[in-house]
């Protein structure tokens, strides 16, 4: 028997209420892509989510609406999820470096004392 719905769109489909369907096969919803968007020129692109697309060109077209229809955006990148190589959260501790690295901080270089001492000595000459 076909379904008679309150929704005229559904009634038009002449749907059978008998549940028979082959399961959707693997990859039938395509591959995954990661989406990056740039809010305005000069900003970095920021990762905003992922989507399913059959290729990069389609990913771009589809990303535009899912990730930029409501938000300011001037540019989008899409990258295949499989092409993203990441560090491991198990290795999170590699980012904890020792604080004794004044040699690469601006504040690690204080020469005024030396200059003043030198100037004082010169005056004495």
């Amino acid at each position: 028997m076909s379904i008679k719905s309150i929704d005229p769109r559904i009634t038009r489909e002449n749907l059978s209420d008998v549940a028979d369907q082959n399961p959707i096969k693997e990859l039938n919803h395509w591959q995954t892509y990661e989406v990056f968007h740039q809010t305005k020129k000069g900003d970095h692109h920021i990762h905003v989510g992922s989507l399913h697309a059959p290729n990069a060109e389609m990913a771009l077209i589809l990303a535009k609406e899912q990730y930029a229809r409501r938000y300011e955006c001037v540019n989008i990148w899409v990258v295949k999820s499989s092409n993203v190589f990441t560090s491991d959260y198990d290795d999170e501790d590699i980012f904890e470096t020792t604080p004794e690295k004044m040699y690469r901080e601006a504040g690690g270089y204080k020469v005024m004392e030396k200059i003043n001492k030198y100037k004082k000595e010169r005056k004495g000459v």
């Binding site: 769109r9 959707i24 096969k25 039938n28 395509w30 990762h47 992922s50 295949k80």
Partner: protein, 328 residues
């Protein structure tokens, strides 16, 4: 839009993660400290399973949730409503997309989730098994069901799983438009012509029981939910959310002079709690188990959409591709 009342699976052998108590301890202390868990972090198998189940149910609720309101998409009166309803239903589809992606990060491909939906294996929010009988039903749904969903989703967005929180943050922003749109729509009907007022009053009567069901049955703290709450998977009790909803929205319904079909509904000023007729949980169970007014139709529609789209997707499928879990 989703209101909780998740169906969590009873864990079979209790603490099966005991094999790695050190990792579990670290995992739990991270959550206790308010840190987020990311997809590649170690997590107990039970945490992964329950999260997949919950996010998947949420995603299904969005895509099925597009149907009751979609019922009136071709009949919305006037440009303003027509455009807004299209944008709202579109947002629900967008939310499904975001949530399926979030669930995928835990290792279940979208295809598997959709298969489980259309075969009836996994559930979605019960309210969407009720029909939107008139235009006014869409107004009630957009206002009150979305209001309920926001309460649940705002709570969940403070949960422990990174990708789910990120998706929910964006979803909540969009839901606030839905809520405003729904309220606007109800106000126009309630303050409009006698016909419009009757329509919205009748719709409210129809939708009140499903709204009360929306947050799920009372969840007396069991060991099971206690773990899920400690893991910040479940963020608020069903009763607390229902109380919060009543507190925020009953006065707004009453100020429009609309009648809520529950003679016992009132706020107990001493306890600060709302009192109401206990919802019919047998009806709730019956509908969840497939015997509601629209269950068959909802699943048939999803099956049909998948089936009709199959050739389109297949045409662009690449055989040399492999599936990769997304990051979002």
């Amino acid at each position: 839009m989703y209101g909780g009342g998740y169906i969590f699976e009873e864990s079979k052998n209790g603490k099966s993660e005991a094999e790695d108590s050190e990792k579990l301890e670290r995992f739990e202390s991270k959550i206790a400290a308010g840190e987020k868990i990311e997809p590649s972090d170690w997590m107990p198998a039970e945490y992964r399973k329950q999260l997949i189940r919950m996010i998947e149910q949420h995603a299904h609720s969005e895509i099925i949730g597009a149907l009751p309101e979609g019922t009136w998409i071709t009949r919305a009166p006037g440009f303003r409503r027509k455009l807004a309803l299209m944008a709202k239903v579109q947002d629900e589809v967008g939310h499904a997309q975001l949530l399926y992606s979030a669930a995928e990060t835990l290792g279940k491909p979208r295809e598997d989730m959709i298969n489980d939906l259309i075969t009836g294996k996994s559930k979605y929010s019960n309210v969407f098994n009720y029909p939107a009988v008139t235009w006014a039903d869409t107004a009630i749904i957009a206002w009150l069901i979305d209001a309920g969903a926001i309460i649940n989703q705002v709570a969940n967005s403070k949960g422990s799983y990174g990708p789910y929180c990120r998706a929910l943050e964006r979803i909540c922003v969009e839901e606030s438009f839905h809520l405003k749109y729904g309220h606007d729509n109800v106000v126009f009907l309630a303050t409009g012509t006698p016909k419009q007022r009757d329509m919205v009053q009748e719709a409210l009567i129809r939708w009140w029981p499903p709204i009360m069901h929306f947050f799920g049955p009372s969840d007396k703290i069991s060991v099971h939910t206690e773990t899920l709450m400690r893991w910040k998977v479940k963020m608020a009790s069903n009763d607390d959310m229902r109380q919060k909803f009543l507190d925020m929205y009953v006065p707004k319904i009453w100020e429009l002079g609309l009648t809520i079909p529950d003679p016992l509904l009132k706020k107990n000023e001493t306890t600060g709690q709302w009192e109401y007729t206990e919802p019919d949980w047998n009806e709730f169970k019956k509908v969840i188990n497939g015997d509601g007014p629209c269950n068959k139709e909802r699943l048939a529609v999803r099956r049909n959409a998948e089936e009709k789209g199959e050739w389109v997707r297949r045409a662009l499928m690449r055989k040399d591709e492999r599936y990769t879990v997304p990051f979002a």
